[in-house]
């Protein structure tokens, strides 16, 4: 296997360096590479973006992982984005980027294979997010022949929960990577290239490619409904946080994926190299806007809104300003309850969002950097609660940063298994952690987390890697996944995260979940078990 090559961009000196890392070869790729480089450059507050060995050359291996310190939590964050970044990184000749330093003024970095430029980005400031993409496309590169990363205006204004947007309709969600870019004065990054690679074993490559393609063709439900399909499951078990989690049952059917798609969805699109095409776009008054389960649940039922067109107005607003919809929904739901406003009024929410963005009033300044953990807030260590109130494992996986989204952790699914049976707290924690090992392997290959059944299978990984000339044994893949997971915990600790310090809003222990009302004492015991058995011993 060829040593992975990373492009280091130093924004302070506006210089770059290309480095190949022989020592990263055993780390498989993706998350393994990114964590290792994050540790290597730890003191310089790096942002590391990495693809994996399968990226863009096998169907569904379409994601890029970002490792950085979250401006929202202050701790290590990982985030995965689709789009075409993985494809163009590879075509530019890199397995990833290491972004260091801070530019003296807003900057656009352009990567076209070995031609790197740093230019002034002030013309993009203050524009709504889609306008930034429009302007980049009209002024640089060929539309669709480069990957474009950009922050929205909220990131410029210091709002922590600002995602980094990729190729217009994709994003690195959770953790505030957009804000992390903005704090380095990096407004736009483009990546282009046309490099090609030899195939180590043509026959084997073809076999694995066709096998993966067939497996992915089986995900038609995900393609047709997107992740919003999850709403039907959550509704059935009464786990959809409604009216700031005053209750957990969803009213009506209109937001369910088929109805939402019929009323609002104009299109669906794919990540580069993925035949599934699960990214759904609604067509609003002004533009196309992407939606998924989390964003619809957070700006819909959580705020007492149940009609697609009204949710769409808020989704469009969040994207325009560059605000993470889950955090925005969490903040607005909290304000509605504490200020005794009426749930369900999207006009009020549009006004509040503008005020939050402007940040002139004291309350708006309180919610700028993160989502606070107040008794009536659904904030979790600075992040907004992912709107799956399934039970202990869903909550625990978020609180412990086992994975920021349903793509990254198994808590949500594990809870579904526990609906009909009791489980010992230690056993639950054990199962949650065990589930992270295959997930970490998939994250090192950077296969899509929504296609877990494909990329968490060690046999698939083994065959695909072998076709590309990467001779890793099964044992090596499994051991490395465990090592990578451990390294993530070590870096979480180094950035200050301590399970014992976790604070949980009281709300989570007052409303029935599908597992009944969660017991605070039992939950605290789970956190302690995780700390004692898994987290603390490896530090």
């Amino acid at each position: 296997m060829v040593a992975p090559t990373f492009l280091q961009l130093n924004l302070t000196s506006r210089t770059f360096e290309v480095k190949s890392y022989q020592d990263l070869i055993p780390r498989i790729g993706g998350l393994g590479w990114a964590l290792a480089l994050y540790e290597q450059f730890f003191e310089e507050e790096p942002i590391v973006l990495a693809g994996g060995p399968l990226s863009a050359v096998f169907p569904g291996a379409s994601k890029t992982v970002a490792v950085f310190r979250s401006p929202q939590t202050g701790f290590l964050a990982t985030s995965f984005a689709g789009g075409n970044l993985a494809r163009f990184l590879r075509a530019a000749g890199y397995q990833g980027l290491v972004i260091l330093g801070r530019a003296s003024s807003p900057t656009m970095a352009t990567v076209d294979e070995d031609k790197i430029e740093f230019t002034d980005a002030s013309r993009f400031l203050g524009l709504e997010t889609p306008k930034v993409f429009e302007l980049v496309s009209s002024s640089a590169g060929v539309p669709g022949r480069q990957s474009v990363l950009a922050t929205g205006p909220a990131a410029e204004k210091g709002i922590g929960y600002s995602p980094l947007y990729v190729d217009e309709f994709f994003s690195f969600p959770r953790g505030g990577l957009g804000r992390a870019f903005a704090s380095k004065n990096l407004k736009v990054l483009t990546v282009a290239g046309e490099k090609s690679e030899e195939i180590a074993d043509e026959r084997r490559y073809r076999e694995v490619f066709e096998s993966l393609y067939r497996k992915l063709q089986g995900h038609r439900d995900l393609a047709q409904l997107g992740t919003l399909r999850n709403l039907a499951v959550e509704k059935k078990i009464s786990a959809v946080p409604t009216n700031n989690l005053a209750e957990s049952s969803l009213l009506g059917e209109e937001l369910l994926a088929p109805s939402f798609a019929e009323k609002m969805a104009a299109r669906r699109i794919s990540c580069g190299g993925c035949p599934v095409g699960c990214i759904h776009l609604l067509k609003g008054d002004k533009r196309f806007t992407f939606y998924d389960y989390e964003s619809v649940a957070a700006l819909g039922p959580l705020l007492g809104i149940f009609e697609p067109v009204r949710v769409a107005a808020l989704l469009e607003k969040a994207w325009g300003l560059g605000l993470d919809p889950v955090c925005l929904g969490t903040v607005l739901a909290y304000l509605t309850e504490t200020e005794k406003l009426n749930f369900g009024n999207e006009e009020t929410y549009l006004t509040l969002t503008d005020a939050l963005f402007a940040g002139r009033e004291p309350w708006a300044r309180d919610f700028r950097e993160s989502v606070p953990v107040y008794p009536k807030s659904l904030g979790i260590t600075g992040l907004g609660f992912l709107p799956y109130f399934n039970g202990y494992a869903s909550l625990l996986s978020q609180v412990l940063f086992l994975g920021a989204t349903t793509e990254e952790n198994r808590g949500f699914l594990l809870d579904l298994d526990l609906l009909e049976r009791e489980i010992d707290p230690a056993e639950l924690v054990n199962q949650l952690v065990e589930a992270q090992y295959p997930k970490t392997l998939a994250e090192s290959l950077v296969g899509c987390g929504y296609l877990a059944s494909v990329f968490e299978d060690p046999a698939t990984s083994f065959s695909a890697l072998q076709a590309l000339g990467a001779e890793f044994s099964h044992d090596h893949l499994q051991k490395t996944a465990r090592d990578t997971f451990r390294q993530k915990l070590i870096l979480q600790h180094r950035t200050g995260f301590r399970p014992a310090d976790v604070k949980i809003p009281e709300k989570f222990f007052q409303v029935p979940s599908p597992q009944g009302v969660l017991e605070k004492e039992k939950f605290g015991r789970m956190v302690q078990i995780y700390g004692d058995k898994f987290y603390d011993p490896i530090q």
Binding site: S138, V142, P143, E168, E194, S196, E197, S270, G272, R287
Partner: protein, 79 residues
């Protein structure tokens, strides 16, 4: 009349680019999204629509390329 790959239903294209990847492998024996007779481009910014740029100076009637499209965007017809 020689047969050609015709992008007959590009309004359905989701932009996955697998046709480009396969076209490159079939014609150049390499892993790439460029350098073959076929390129997918975005129709315009802000619009999730795509167009196929095909070089008809080369052989294009590969049934494998037609068949890999998950949205069935291509036909092979007489040019």
């Amino acid at each position: 009349m020689p047969k050609i790959l015709k992008p007959a239903r590009m309004e359905k294209c989701t932009g996955c680019g697998l046709c480009e990847l396969l076209a490159s492998r079939l014609t150049k024996g390499k892993l790439s999204y460029s350098g073959s007779f076929l390129q997918i481009r975005k129709a315009s910014s802000g619009q999730p629509y795509f167009k196929a740029i095909i070089d008809y100076g080369q052989k294009t009637d590969y049934p494998e390329v037609r068949d890999i499209c998950p949205e069935n965007c291509y036909d092979i017809e007489e040019g």
